[in-house]
Symmetry: C2
């Protein structure tokens, strides 16, 4: 029997986990359960991670985590357990099916059946932030080739296994041509390996509008982390109820399954909560570990229960629902229907599903033959600049007098807009400037060495300028690896 | 008569601009119109900006731009005229009212009346991107104190003048504690100056879900650039039709008014297009320049026209609409109703509106007494690292042997997750590493000088490592101006 690690969580967590496990046990699933304690109690014992080292050991052993919602105490530097688990276990894919169950559950979008596949490790969620000056904060958005390959391939493999017809990609590559451009490019590359699956790309703003208005136009959607975070919440909500959605976080060696909703402490202990989200997370877990028969029995019995109008308070609606039940009674109703299929809603079939292949090898990265440094951006903050006034023209002129071995100041910009040479008076400036140095046009070599950069650094800082950060300007086999400023 | 600059644009642009100007002229508005040519024809003459220098002169003179949609030719390095205009004219605020007109225009959200106020200059749209390695792309997200103050104050001033009750703020500050944290903090500061306006903050994912599902719960929403871009499209779409929404881009000295839809070349020249979006942009312009009586007459006549069922093809619906009309006839129908008010829809009132105050002075930035450098992050790419293997443990150990004047390697991470010392095997790595150097615990001074950084840079690069970028670690009056890595 495959071992799994189970955490009962906080708030309504224990009730809905008990209900879900009762149903899973009645389904014929074969599981050996290791129980760990996570969440509020662990946090309040002074463990800011919310999870004990012995629990990590269980997770590293079983590699499958079935997790009820937890409560993170306010303040006091408690870290999000979800973020920690995703990062430490390498759970790169977040899968969230968003399905409407009209007419049994109220929705404005009957027929909606969208799966959002969200990249889970990169983008703005790497948590890398710096204060550049008194006025300006920076966060790094990172998009990598292997990270993107993993998530895009996962989305297509998921579509293939689940008989899905289309995988859509959302990016903002008309603005972020390098980061989102890479995501889009890799989507194009990998989609070509799946000729039977329809593909399409939307700019995320228009795509989001279409999704919110006509979600039935979509099937599987793969997105970078931030867009996926926001739009999977939108999709789950407009499908009908966040109380009905489960979610999987999948990595190469480990995976985690949960409901998408929180621990709802005010509903706790009253036998009120709807266990459906966590139960469907459990169904995804059973499919994931290859126990497709149990998964199918549970999912179909659950659909039949919805259809029969046996509803918890959150989705109860007079005239549609027939019986308002508590958490335990709902679980019993699902168990009583084990082996049955829905009559009106579409039954699911996981027949023959193997545990999806996860140990794929990324395409070898393109080995660039020649990576050359062709300049360096020096970012200056409010420190030394304060004493030199805030006039960009004077600042640029003064800095321009510091040249070094044929490297010259090419331009100064403020948040991407050129202010030297020849800025416009209307341009609003902050106290953080970027100063781009490149070889003079007449220089014998148009490349720059690390020795030159370090000498330039020394010279500029010795003149009293405060360098906050540097970025080298590079070409990769002749292709420019940096953007130009607006107006450059 | 105040001068304005008008561009008739491409595709359906000329038709809807003619219709809008006819209505505006009949409203009693006093305007002196300077016409400029922008868009496709200018691009195809070889001007990659899509606008001639003489047109810039007109814009700098009139400071008010009434702009029909244009067509940007595909390929060929043509730059978005909207982005250029926003940046060069400092149009920091994008205002987009999203209103439902049920039952006259079909919508799932009757009663919706949301104004999205989007920051327009900063965030990820500064266009600053770098390739860090063969595998990894970076985009900088920048949020500034004055940039945020301007947009938040604008949102509250807008709410006050328009009799709005609530200004909501969306950020993701549970993850981006410094950038989005600053936006949220400034929202809190400025909202305190407006005790009569209700305030609330939502994490953007849940907020977006609520907005898509129950937009009637919102009034004015102020957001950083990216969230505003995506969610203003969502709001406009679910209100009923993107064909009905106008938008203002406002700066301290200049402003631009337009429809939110594009130039729809396939509909051009057929007297089919709905001029409503551009007309409502014109109403916002008239309010902005203080001609509130004309604005009110147009807006109410337009509402009455909708209500009377005089509809263009795009919103025509049998049983609801009474008469299907073309662009010109629609304009005539609005003109015929000048002076009338809607009977069922809510009439607008701009009585006594003054041109909103725009020349406010940002709060003086907090002057930090002590900005100290306490370390430096060196980012390494695939260059030199390739020859040293891809094992993070060996890499960290080797780099750790290079110490300098009491500065030591503290940690190495990959996309924010620690890999040295003591990483976990499950952590997936790319070819871009961050190496954090800080003074040894026993050092007399816990601060670092630029001379030390430049010497360290020299030493590390001389040892064959390829430094791609650097970020100094700073404290601002003792407060940490950088984030820790996951697991640090």
């Amino acid at each position: 029997m495959p071992p799994i690690t189970v955490a009962h969580g906080d708030g309504i967590g224990p009730e809905i986990m008990d209900a879900s496990l009762r149903i899973i046990q009645e389904s014929g699933a074969a599981l050996e359960i290791e129980t760990i304690e996570i969440g509020e109690k662990v946090y309040l014992r002074g463990n800011t991670a919310g999870i004990d080292p012995s629990s990590w050991e269980s997770l590293r052993r079983t590699k499958v985590f079935y997790k009820a919602p937890i409560t993170t105490p306010q303040g006091g530097g408690f870290k999000s357990l979800n973020v920690t688990a995703r990062k430490r276990l390498g759970l790169y894919a977040n899968i969230r099916p968003c399905v409407a169950y009209a007419p049994y559950v109220d929705t404005k979008h009957p027929g909606m059946d969208v799966v959002v596949v969200r990249e889970n490790e990169e983008d703005l969620y790497a948590g890398i932030e710096y204060q550049l000056s008194s006025d300006v904060m920076e966060c790094l958005k990172l998009i990598s080739r292997p990270g993107t390959e993993k998530i895009v391939r996962f989305a297509f493999e998921y579509a293939k296994q689940n008989g899905r017809k289309k995988v859509t990609c959302f990016t903002k590559d008309n603005i972020m041509k390098m980061t989102d451009g890479l995501f889009h490019k890799i989507y194009d590359e990998i989609s070509a390996e799946y000729p039977d699956i329809e593909k399409e790309h939307w700019i995320v703003d228009i795509g989001a509008a279409k999704l919110a208005d006509t979600p039935t136009a979509f099937d599987v959607i793969v997105m970078p982390n931030l867009y996926g975070d926001v739009l999977s919440d939108v999709a789950a909500q407009i499908a009908g109820s966040v109380g009905l959605a489960g979610s999987a976080n999948v990595g190469i060696t480990a995976s985690m399954f949960e409901a998408i909703h929180g621990s709802a402490p005010r509903r706790a202990g009253q036998n009120l909560a709807n266990p459906s989200g966590l139960l469907l997370g459990g169904v995804m877990m059973l499919v994931h570990i290859g126990q497709w028969e149990a998964a199918e029995r549970i999912h179909n019995a659950w659909l039949r229960t919805l259809e029969d109008g046996v509803h918890t308070y959150d989705i109860f609606e007079p005239g549609v629902s027939r019986e308002k039940v508590g958490t335990k009674e709902f679980a019993s109703a699902v168990i009583a229907r084990m082996g049955q299929k829905p009559e009106k809603l579409k039954a699911v079939s996981y027949a023959g599903f193997a545990s999806p292949r996860r140990e794929w090898v990324p395409n070898p990265a393109r080995q660039f033959e020649k990576i050359e440094i062709v300049g360096v951006d020096l970012y200056m903050g409010s420190g030394a600049f304060g004493s030199k006034g805030r006039n960009p023209q004077e600042f640029g002129d003064a800095l321009n007098r510091i040249s070094h071995e044929g490297i010259e100041l090419r331009m100064v910009d403020n948040r991407g807009t050129i202010v030297w040479p020849g800025g416009m008076a209307e341009t609003f400036v902050t106290d953080s400037y970027r100063c781009r140095f490149q070889p003079v046009a007449s220089a014998a070599s148009q490349t720059v060495t690390h020795a030159q950069i370090s000498a330039l650094y020394q010279k500029v800082t010795a003149a009293g300028y405060d360098i906050v950060k540097t970025e080298t300007l590079r070409t990769f086999d002749g292709q420019q690896g940096f953007t130009l400023a607006q107006g450059q």
